[in-house]
Symmetry: D3
Subunit: 133 residues, 6 copies
Amino acid sequence: MAMVRLIEIEDASAEVRAVYDDIMRTRGTDWVNNFWKALANDPKALRRVWSAVKEVMAPGALDPLTKELIYVAVSVTNNCDYCIHSHTAAARKAGMSEAMFAELMAVVALANETNRFANGYRIEVDEAFRPRY
Amino acid sequence: MAMVRLIEIEDASAEVRAVYDDIMRTRGTDWVNNFWKALANDPKALRRVWSAVKEVMAPGALDPLTKELIYVAVSVTNNCDYCIHSHTAAARKAGMSEAMFAELMAVVALANETNRFANGYRIEVDEAFRPRY
Amino acid sequence: MAMVRLIEIEDASAEVRAVYDDIMRTRGTDWVNNFWKALANDPKALRRVWSAVKEVMAPGALDPLTKELIYVAVSVTNNCDYCIHSHTAAARKAGMSEAMFAELMAVVALANETNRFANGYRIEVDEAFRPRY
Amino acid sequence: MAMVRLIEIEDASAEVRAVYDDIMRTRGTDWVNNFWKALANDPKALRRVWSAVKEVMAPGALDPLTKELIYVAVSVTNNCDYCIHSHTAAARKAGMSEAMFAELMAVVALANETNRFANGYRIEVDEAFRPRY
Amino acid sequence: MAMVRLIEIEDASAEVRAVYDDIMRTRGTDWVNNFWKALANDPKALRRVWSAVKEVMAPGALDPLTKELIYVAVSVTNNCDYCIHSHTAAARKAGMSEAMFAELMAVVALANETNRFANGYRIEVDEAFRPRY
Amino acid sequence: MAMVRLIEIEDASAEVRAVYDDIMRTRGTDWVNNFWKALANDPKALRRVWSAVKEVMAPGALDPLTKELIYVAVSVTNNCDYCIHSHTAAARKAGMSEAMFAELMAVVALANETNRFANGYRIEVDEAFRPRY
């Protein structure tokens, strides 16, 4: 049970409803997921975060599937139950196969392992890896 | 200064040298980065971790660039200085443009933000996001 | 189901009971929450942690509500289910309104986002932000 | 040295300059800190993140000092060097005394401690702490 | 419900079955825990991770109980529900008493607390603590 | 440079000096490390945290070396530079060999890896791992 009441579509104010409509239109769906229904308790946060998600996750130099894979990688590292579920579903919708999911998990797990070797041994960054500009 | 002495190529035992040679052959380089020189103090760890990196990061269902982007995403989330530098360099070598790097950062940052909204509000996973098999 | 049996008030040893009594007296309640019932398996830890909580959370330069908001901010960042619930309840008891809760969540989420931009880009601290003493 | 070149005020495009000007106007300063100079490599991110910071950190149900204390609490938990420095400076500017800073550190540290007792013992949330709405 | 189907022993391919058999032989048990049944969807990951666990957790300079205590310490810090349960069970099997478990929790919690004091105050490492080699 | 001035022994108030003396007496040293010199700005925190460290790290069901290994495991997972240095030094003083240090790093890194497989796949805890009491 969430810490705040979820605002259903039929209970939404005009301001919230406008964001819900944009979410559904952008995604081509007829429902809104719980994340937005929780944020809707703070209409400014709802608008701001949705607008950020819409801008950041739009196709650009990186395609939508790659962006969803990155999103899952972060969510797994942070152990966010909701986000792992929602972004794995989004990644699958964007074309992630089971083989890709397995490789994603393997890279995320490996990176978490080698991060600790590097941190634990306090390894100095090689000159060759320093940014050059 | 690292917690352990870095084992230079010329000081490496035959066992360590064999791994160093495989690293250089696989990457087509004539040097070995500090990460492996630190791990070389534990030759079994050196062999095991290198062999895992080689297997996991090889092209598969996901291409090498995508894997490096995921690696950077985890390293940024964990704030691993060494890994951010080494895997950003690897991602650039694999074709990451500055525009892709900027989008990677934006997705990682956004995911870290929405992870906390979901965790903080303890939002229930929507039925539609549950895995089906 | 917790990893250890919860020690109920009626089953508490005199040593544990004394701490339970102090918790109830300090809070003006007639019950003890599960956190302490779990720690009670290690009476020294129970006494030490309770005494630290009592000292740190007492009104001082910061008022109790501000302290609870900070506690929730940490618990959300770490994704501690128990602590989010218990300290959100405590914050509400100390006067946190729904609007304050929403702003708390927004600041916590934003800080988690900008933390990753700063970490990922390895941004140097401005001279003006260095401590001066 | 940051992963990207910092965009100085005199090198900023009109789009970036407009955000820099808004930052300086809002804060009543004549300089821009490195965080924004790094983000300026991605003008859309610069505009989006600044606009989020401006909206979230404005006085509301919580006052600016309380918001900065929460920001520091998150940054310390995540160990973000840049953010600890910049938001501790901002908190001091907003009125944080040394005594408040010490209490902030004590609460953050304590919360990180009790978070692990709760997580490690997998303590069940008390019914009394469940949200009611 | 896991994100992937768990591969039961009777449904395992020869390749997966060989790893399952090695797990059961090594542990002297007649069952395989869910962790491996999930990884079995990626037989290479199953083989690689099991072989790493077998090598790293074998008695060496540190005894198996000490290694399990360290494993639990990491899992509690990361709040990994599955790993806390499986490695607490393994630690108990390796001889961890209730008193040892309580002290383990106390050290983990304390370390998480003092880590934040050190990070928050950005305390410089004493010369005496620098590695010497 | 730390966020607060370090309080040297010769500048310490009687209250702070008493704790410093207890630290030196307990450890059989004639110096105090920076951690305590930073905390000394808040004498109550200095006394409380030192007294917790003294109690928790004393020999009990777990020996001092094992406790230091656990401390390092947490500090590496959290990437606390100061704590990795100070507790690796303490572990070495308590008898940690280079081989033990290497195995410690290997277990910590592996646990961080498998934690993410378990979290990412959302693997259900096996009945056999549930606590029984």
